[in-house]
């Protein structure tokens, strides 16, 4: 292989590495670039002049990627949301298991006795009132888990933009918030007394905010896509 052929091969390979298109398309581009370079050599150009005129491999690849609508490779940042969602799901299951354990423990402790709330089954009443208060937390957690999963999808691809998962997660977050405030609203009276209210509250805030942020991002992407389509007409 001559020096010129080595330079051409190195250049074309460098362009191919930076292309973000399917393999078949890379083969086409490779063939056409090769033809282009050889045609210029036949017209009397030197290899160095040809490669300078074509531009750097990055410039050439960027132009092809832009014209062919190639997608940016999704970054690793989205995996954070996958991990957060998994952690939230595991934690929610853990809390559910603890609740069930507490129920059986309470029932064992108060089996023979006194009706604490006034019904025939005091322990069950305590558990029911406790559980109802937790429904809001579970809904918020459910919304958060779905939002994390959807954020992972959102950051991974620009091609799919379904709103369904975002709407469900935002709905769960909203319903969970309303339920939690309704059942635990009194807790706000003791807000300033202990940091223990603040940290879980920050986590809950993240659980509520993420689904709505994601829904807004998806709507924005949708309206941009519609604008682009109108611009092409």
């Amino acid at each position: 292989m001559t020096e010129d052929q080595k330079k051409i091969k190195k250049y074309v390979n460098a362009v191919e590495r930076k292309l973000k298109v399917p393999l078949k398309m890379k083969v086409r581009i490779n063939a056409d670039l090769g033809t282009d370079i050889h045609a210029r050599m036949e017209a009397g150009w030197s290899v160095d002049k040809i490669l300078e005129d074509l531009g750097s491999p990055k410039e050439v690849a960027d132009r092809f990627n832009a014209e062919l609508g190639a997608e940016r490779k999704p970054g690793g940042f989205r995996y954070i949301f996958l991990v957060l969602g998994a952690a939230a799901a595991v934690y929610a299951v853990y809390i559910l298991a603890m609740n069930l354990y507490m129920k059986s423990m309470v029932q064992r402790q108060f089996r023979e006795s006194v009706s604490l709330i006034g019904g025939a089954d005091g322990p069950t009443s305590i558990f029911v009132s406790y559980t109802v208060g937790m429904i809001g937390n579970w809904m918020m957690s459910g919304g958060f888990v779905l939002a994390c999963l959807d954020m992972y999808r959102f950051l991974g691809s620009r091609k799919t933009n379904s709103l369904l998962l975002s709407i469900i997660s935002a709905g769960l977050a909203a319903a969970g918030t309303v339920s939690w405030i309704y059942n635990n609203g009194e807790i706000f009276r003791y807000w300033e007394f202990t940091w223990e209210f603040h940290f879980p509250a920050l986590i809950m805030l993240a659980e509520i905010v993420l689904p709505f942020v994601l829904l807004a991002l998806r709507f924005r992407r949708r309206s941009r896509e519609k604008e682009e389509q109108r611009g092409m007409l």
Partner: protein
């Protein structure tokens, strides 16, 4: 002439112009770029990354097709493009549409406008 309006105009007619050049004779990418530069009066100063996607789109639509042709002597084989029957018909439609469009714009914008 690189403003947005010029870019949009170029993009709008590129398919028609490339079909025309391929219809004239079977040709390859670099030759098309040279023709556009020389006959386009500076309006079509394209790079490979802009032209080849147009060729691929036309090929995928069945308007042109590619083939390899060996060069004379020790020249490397080249990838040529040639127009199909469907491409000829489509070019004819594009040309009629362009003539009509040109006439409408001239009426709307006024022949005497500077």
């Amino acid at each position: 002439m690189d403003n947005k309006f010029a870019q949009q105009l170029k993009k709008g007619v590129l398919d028609m112009v490339v079909l025309r050049l391929v219809q004239e004779k079977s040709t390859y990418g670099y030759e098309i770029l040279q023709n556009l530069e020389q006959r386009g009066e500076g309006f079509f100063d394209l790079k490979e990354g802009t032209l080849y996607p147009v060729l691929y789109r036309l090929e995928d639509s069945g308007l042109i097709e590619s083939f390899w042709q060996n060069g004379e002597g020790r020249a490397a084989p080249k990838k040529y493009y040639t127009i199909t029957e469907k491409g000829r018909e489509t070019y004819g439609e594009y040309r009629n549409l362009w003539t009509h469009f040109q006439s409408c714009i001239t009426k709307l914008c006024g022949e005497g406008d500077e």
